[in-house]
Structures are given as structure tokens and as C-alpha cells.
């Protein structure tokens, strides 16, 4: 096509084919979706969160549907970094798109060790740092809500890695611009937001929580307006690229985040509803740009008319 808009997106020192990535924890390690969608049409795959040692996760039930939303308390179950490198990375290396490893830890040093290990292997293009998952009792929550801890984790990750570092912010804070700035000042190459919002659901008949963990993280369309507001505020507060996440189901949803200031987006829960969602959203963005006579995503970014 002669005048097809350019979806290429430069972010944190990488160039992505398009601005649509899959969100951590909603796309496995890519292989799970290989038969269902064209991985080479994605901007990037963000892996399930990886810790130093394998984690078994929380007891069941771990998921429950709420009004236009999904409440989960998976508990960061994952195979651990060594099994990731041995069993998951070989597929990802050849999957035809960028690979962003999402990491988590319960100590600052664990983040540093993970960054060092993942920087030393072939096939990882960037690291996204989960400082915000609300599910694990001793987990990320303290980092993501405390600007000093955000800065400490960011510095450690930068020191231990040559790869681009994306800090994934927690929405469970009073003022998102505080943690966004803390990440930027500590050297983050980009920030992504939002992670799930701390939430709960109760079965009134049984007077019991619907999740064994009682509290979980809310995702899906229910959180989109909150996510959009936070991305808008964060994009105004920092100069590094912002990756918008939260309830994106359609190309229109993704475009709203870009107009609010996001340089790229991640599609999470939508991949459960429609395994081809991310690919279709990328195509929809292209069609929109063409319809509006825009030649790139960058031309639309932050273009909200006030």
C-alpha cells in the first residue's frame, strides 16, 4: 500500500512494528497463543511475571468475573527465571516479534539479580518491572506505592542491565505523578500503567469472599476510565514514553490512550475474550490513522483537544 500509515513505534531505545503489545500475565509466554493469532503482527509480547525462584501461586479460586471486569489473585505463579530461559525463551526468540520480560521480586536485590541474568541471555529485548502487583502478601505492593522504593528498584535495575527498563506502575496510589516522576528521575527508560486495581468480591449467600485470597486485582473494561485518567496525568508529568494499559478491548480504546499521551499500549484481559484482540487492535489503529489522514502514531499521541 502506497500511503499506509507508519505504525512503527520507537520506545525506550527499541523500535516496535506497531504500538500494540500483550500485557503481562494475559498472554502466557506467547506459545499459548501461537495457533490462535499471528504473533508477528504484534508490537511486542510481554511475558508472564518472572521471579528468581519458581512460585506456586495462590490457592483456588483465583479468578472471578465482576461487572465488565475480571478479578484475579493468581499470586504471581511462574516457572522461575531458569525455567523461563530453558523452556520458554527458545520459542520466543523465533516468534517474529519483540520480547519484553516482565519481572517481579520481593527484595530490591532480587530485581537486580533478575535484570543481570536476563541481560545476559539472547532473545530478551527489554525488561518490564512489576513493582505493583497487589496479589502477593510480601510482594510488590510496598515498592509501587512508595516513591523511594520505586526509585531504589529502578536504580538497581538500571545498574544491573544494559536493556531498556520499563517500570510498571501501580494504580493503588493517591497521586500517580509522584511514582511516575520517581521512576523517571531514577533513570527508567519508560513507564507502563496501569496494573490491576486492588479489589474484592463477596458471595452474599455464603457470606464468603469469592477469591480464596480475599483480595485480588481488577482488570478489564471496568477499569478503563481509571486507567485513562492515570495515563493522562502521568504523560503530562514525565518526558519518558508512557505505555497505556487497562481495559483496552478495541482499537478505539487503544486510540483513547494514545490521544491521552501514551506512546504505546498493552492489551490484557481482552486476549482472554478474543485471542486475536491485540492483532485486530493494531489493524484498527492503522485504519483510523488512514481515515484521519495521519501518517504515524506519533502524530496522534497526546493530541487531546482541551
Amino acid at each position: 500500500m502506497e500511503n499506509a500509515p507508519d505504525l512503527k513505534t520507537a520506545i525506550a531505545g527499541m523500535t516496535l512494528r506497531n504500538p500494540v503489545m500483550t500485557a503481562s500475565g494475559t498472554f502466557g509466554y506467547g506459545e499459548e497463543f501461537a495457533e490462535l493469532t499471528n504473533l508477528h503482527r504484534l508490537g511486542a509480547i510481554v511475558t508472564k511475571g518472572i521471579s528468581l525462584a519458581p512460585r506456586p501461586g495462590n490457592p483456588p479460586p483465583r479468578v472471578v468475573e465482576t461487572a465488565s471486569g475480571l478479578l484475579n489473585a493468581i499470586g504471581l505463579e511462574n516457572v522461575g527465571v531458569q525455567a523461563f530461559i530453558d523452556a520458554k525463551l527458545p520459542f520466543l526468540k523465533n516468534c517474529g516479534t519483540r520480547v519484553i520480560a516482565n519481572i517481579l521480586g520481593d527484595r530490591v536485590e532480587e530485581y537486580g539479580e533478575l535484570c543481570a541474568i536476563l541481560s545476559g541471555v539472547e532473545g530478551v529485548d527489554a525488561i518490564e518491572v512489576n513493582i505493583s502487583c497487589p496479589n502477593v502478601k510480601q510482594g510488590g505492593i510496598a515498592f509501587g506505592t512508595d516513591p523511594e522504593a520505586v526509585a531504589a528498584v529502578t536504580k538497581t535495575c538500571k545498574k544491573n542491565s544494559k536493556l531498556p527498563i520499563i517500570i510498571k506502575l501501580s494504580p493503588n496510589v493517591t497521586d500517580i505523578t509522584v511514582t511516575a516522576r520517581a521512576a523517571e528521575e531514577a533513570g527508567a527508560d519508560a513507564i507502563s500503567l496501569i496494573n490491576t486495581i486492588t479489589a474484592m468480591a463477596i458471595d452474599a449467600e455464603k457470606r464468603r469472599p469469592r477469591l480464596a485470597n480475599v483480595i485480588g486485582g481488577l482488570s478489564g473494561p471496568a477499569i478503563k476510565p481509571v486507567a485513562l485518567r492515570m495515563v493522562w496525568q502521568a504523560a503530562a508529568a514525565v518526558r519518558i514514553p508512557v505505555i497505556g494499559i487497562g481495559g483496552i478491548m478495541t482499537a478505539d480504546d487503544a486510540l483513547e490512550f494514545i490521544i491521552a499521551g501514551a506512546a504505546a499500549v498493552q492489551v490484557g484481559t481482552a486476549s482472554f475474550v478474543n485471542p486475536r484482540a491485540a492483532e485486530e487492535i493494531a489493524a484498527g489503529i492503522s485504519a483510523y490513522l488512514e481515515r484521519h489522514g495521519l501518517d504515524s502514531v506519533a502524530a496522534l499521541r497526546g493530541s487531546l483537544r482541551l
Binding site: E32, F33, V63, P221, S271
Partner: protein, 267 residues
């Protein structure tokens, strides 16, 4: 290979109160389905219900038809019950593992309610393979419900032993009573049990089989967000030296009865 397919409704058949059979034209998935495989069905194009709902494959035809049996229990299944011929829905499948039909020379198939779906597909396959004896034991709340669920077995030449909670058809009581009555004739060397139904029923069957040393596979249900082993939400607790948590969509839905920590599934 699993696929996402737009399936066209051929017919929807009411099998009694809140019970339906949905016949879909879904050639890619139907052509590959196996006993105890399941599909994820999108019940709405809106955001509520949001997630796809899992259903066992009940029957397939060589013309690309795929049938499921379902009971209306909430919004998603209510939406399915309102589908009309030529409507389309998104299906992902076939998913999961399947029953091991080669493991024994003789099978007792045990079904509770709509749990008959994977059991029926297994029965058809066993009959097709030949050389294996089958007994079916099926239970439901009432005869009105059980009758249409088990009507497919007679044409296959399979006799059913029935049990209902209200005694309106067959034995007045539980399907596990039928199994207990039969135990004396069951040879643990030759006979295996395949089972699908409500968790308490499967737990009871698992307990009986463990005591009697009978090989037993169960097909489990848990809440599922994705069905494709991405969300890690569909966990059941494993038992003994096995894995701490098992994932029903990937490691299952079929498990050896002894792999499961039944206590945690019942609370």
C-alpha cells in the same frame, strides 16, 4: 491444533427446564474434537458477560457439526439459550486433554447431570473402537431431566443404570449407590471408570475407586478466564507428591482421581 472459529447456530433444542442442546456448524473445531475436549464460547459481544464460558464437546458429525449440552445457571448460559438458527458465536477449541480410552478392556462410565456430555462422547468413541465393554451409570435430580440426557446411549447399544434424587426414574438415590452395588463384580485389573459430574459426586466416586483399587479418571470443572493456559486461574489443588496446583485447562480437564486433593475442591 486449536482455533478460533465463527460458529453458526444450526439448531437449539430444549431438553427440559433450563437444559439445552446447541448444535453449531463449526467444522474446524468439530473435525478435531476428542472425548472430554472443551470449547470456550463467547456468549456476548458486549462487555458483560465478559469472559468466554467453557463447555464440553458432546457430539460431532463428519459434516462439521459440533454439539454442546448446557444448563442455564447464569447470564452467559441464559444468552446461549436465546440463540436462534443462523446466529453466530465465537468458539475457541478444541482445548484440554482427554480420557484415556485405551487404558482398560471394560469401562464403567459415570455421569451426573450435564456431565454426561464428555462421557457420551467417550462412549461413542469406545463403541467405534470396538472390543471394549461399557456400562453407563447416570444420575440427575429428576427423571424429567435425566431421560433426555441419557437418550443417546440406547441407539449405541449401551444400557444405562439410572438414579434420581426424587426417585422418579431408576434408583431413588445417588449414582454412587449404583456403583457400590456393582463393586463385587468389578475386576480392578480389567475395569476402568470414567466420570464427570458435580464435584461432590466425583469426589465420592474417587473415594470408592481408591478403596477398591479401581483405575478412575475424572473430568473437572473450575472457573476459567482463558482456557488456553495463559491466565493460570483454573487451578485445583494436587495431592501427595504430585504438583501442588494443577491447571484444569492444560493439565486437564481429565485427571486420575488420585491426583486431586478433593477436600479443597469441595469447600
Amino acid at each position: 491444533m486449536k482455533t478460533v472459529e465463527r460458529a453458526r447456530v444450526k439448531r437449539i433444542v430444549s431438553l427440559g427446564r433450563n437444559l439445552f442442546r446447541l448444535d453449531l456448524h463449526s467444522p474446524q473445531i468439530a473435525g478435531q474434537a476428542w472425548p472430554a475436549s472443551f470449547v470456550m464460547a463467547r456468549t456476548s459481544e458486549a462487555t458483560a458477560p465478559l469472559l468466554c464460558r467453557p463447555f464440553s464437546v458432546y457430539q460431532t458429525t463428519s459434516e462439521g457439526e459440533l454439539q454442546i449440552l448446557f444448563r442455564v445457571v447464569g447470564q452467559g448460559t441464559a444468552n446461549l439459550s436465546r440463540l436462534r438458527p443462523d446466529d453466530e458465536i465465537s468458539l475457541t477449541g478444541p482445548l484440554g486433554n482427554g480420557f484415556d480410552l485405551g487404558a482398560r478392556k471394560e469401562f464403567i462410565l459415570i455421569a451426573g447431570g450435564v456431565g454426561v456430555a464428555p462421557v457420551f462422547m467417550a462412549a461413542k468413541q469406545i463403541v467405534r473402537n470396538g472390543g471394549t465393554r461399557i456400562t453407563v451409570m447416570a444420575g440427575a435430580a429428576t427423571g424429567e431431566e435425566l431421560e433426555p440426557l441419557t437418550a443417546g446411549f440406547a441407539p449405541l447399544g449401551i444400557d444405562c443404570e439410572l438414579a434420581t434424587d426424587d426417585g422418579s426414574l431408576g434408583h431413588h438415590g445417588l449414582v454412587t449407590d449404583l456403583l457400590k452395588q456393582r463393586l463385587a463384580d468389578v475386576s480392578p485389573q480389567r475395569t476402568g471408570i470414567l466420570c464427570c459430574g458435580p464435584a461432590p459426586m466425583m469426589a465420592a466416586v474417587a473415594g470408592i475407586c481408591e478403596q477398591a483399587g479401581i483405575w478412575c479418571q475424572v473430568s473437572l470443572e473450575t472457573m476459567m478466564a482463558c482456557g488456553v493456559s495463559a491466565c493460570l486461574g483454573c487451578t485445583v489443588a494436587g495431592r501427595g507428591n504430585g504438583k501442588k496446583y494443577l491447571h484444569v485447562c492444560k493439565d486437564g480437564p481429565v485427571f486420575m482421581a488420585g491426583e486431586i486433593e478433593w477436600k479443597t475442591l469441595l469447600t
